[in-house]
Amino acid sequence: MAKLILSMDGLVLKEYTLTKERTTIGRKPHNDIQIDNLAVSGEHAVIVTILNDSFLEDLGSTNGTSVNGQAIKKHFLQNNDTIELGKYKLKYVNETAAPNKVPEEFEKTMVLRPDAIPAALSRSAANAETVNTAISAPITPAITSSQPMRPLSESQALRLSTSPPMGTPVEGAPSVPQVQAEPGAAAIQVLSGGLAGRELVLTKALTTLGATGKQVAVITKRPNGYFITHVEGDKFPIVNGKAIDMQAHALEDHDIIELAGVKMAFFYKD
């Protein structure tokens, strides 16, 4: 469950858990989070929570609301975001993406029972403010399997993507496809025929070689290196004088490839 830690001048004042679908923040006593300070408006802001996601919205307050130093109207809260209202700070903590989560649990699809679907999302939700949808309503959880995790192969050195589109650094967000380790830059240099001397740098995950309808092969760029695979044609690509088979063939520095009558060299750049 996500929570908010209220502080001022570095001193922690109180901790709030985001249990309700709407958590109001303001100076007036009816607010869920009451901050008794003149710099805070009577109804300053609201946090709408849909299960594990929370959204902050400024309610047209006099002095505005900021997140991580930037003034916002509406903001999709991420773990460790700091909300600023006047001199008060509210730190948003959402450990659903905690790194200590068992890998087997990542990405496990679960079913939301109809009664657990937050009312805020239904079309008739306009008057749903007084309806406190039980966010903690049972979701059928997958029972954690006690099977050992399949070991990741050594080539899977993963780096977390560090540039989310909203400009807010997202800590440990495993749900974002991670940038894989890259092999060194490599290229193909044509050695024979009309295009001799031409160099083609292998930047994409897949690079096609050959002539459609005659003979086509593809070079795949993977975390652990480059591989050549036959795609179509009666003849298979020849690497260092020997024809490869149906399987992907790992390319070594300075390998000579022969394909569709053209000779080319594969090499790593510097």
């Binding site: 849909i50 939301l112 749900s175």
Partner: protein
Amino acid sequence: MDLGQALEIASCTDPGMVRSHNEDSVAADPANGVVVLADGMGGYNAGEVASGMATAIITTELQHAIGERPLHWVDPANGVSLAHGLLVEQIAKANGSIYQAAQTQAQYAGMGTTLVAAIFYDNRAMVAHIGDSRVYRLRGNVLEQLTKDHSLLQEQIDSGMLTAEQAKFSQNKNLVTRALGIEAFVEPEISEFDVRVGDIYLLCSDGLNDMVSDEDITMTLQTLSTNLRLAAQQLVQLANDNGGRDNISVILVKVLRDFAVHRGWRDRIFSWMK
């Protein structure tokens, strides 16, 4: 009508790099133009059981049902084509069986599965889906997602709470709002699409689209369209290279030829008179 000449089908399913079991299931009946994919969920190996039941029941039942009356025949009682009706019927059967099993066997309690099923007939594709497994179509150079996920995340996007970009950072991923086998009755979403020669259809579980960008999927299908089996393997490999955090399944259907149903002059006149 044997669609084996008109359609080329390739599939690949993989447990991924993290999971020990593969709870996805894929099945195809090329002669009848039927493809089915399911992503199971549930404790222990219940997910495997649910998805396996879904693909087996639906392919087998459709195989038996197709052939007597042409799929494009429209039932005058409800204006629904036979293909549509058959899909609804067999999906309901699968749902009933999975639900029953879940109710009667303790180790299967709560099990369910997503589903995508398609019947190709008469230059058309009738697509049914439940959950967040998807169908894409590559036509020309454009990849289009043909199904909308039945998921909490999609509902957030639909209600304007999140943009598609922000959705990547949602913690509500992988929560489906509809699944097969969870309740006594479930309503699949069914749509019909016109099919053209050259089209490539991709059915996949979220283990693919969560790990591989649309750009990479498009590039892979375009580059390897002449070797569909390699294209399917390459998609799975890409998902694994990007982390492979879930089971990955793909079914590719490439349209090689026209497969319009030959209509006699009587049929044509009657359909014109409707």
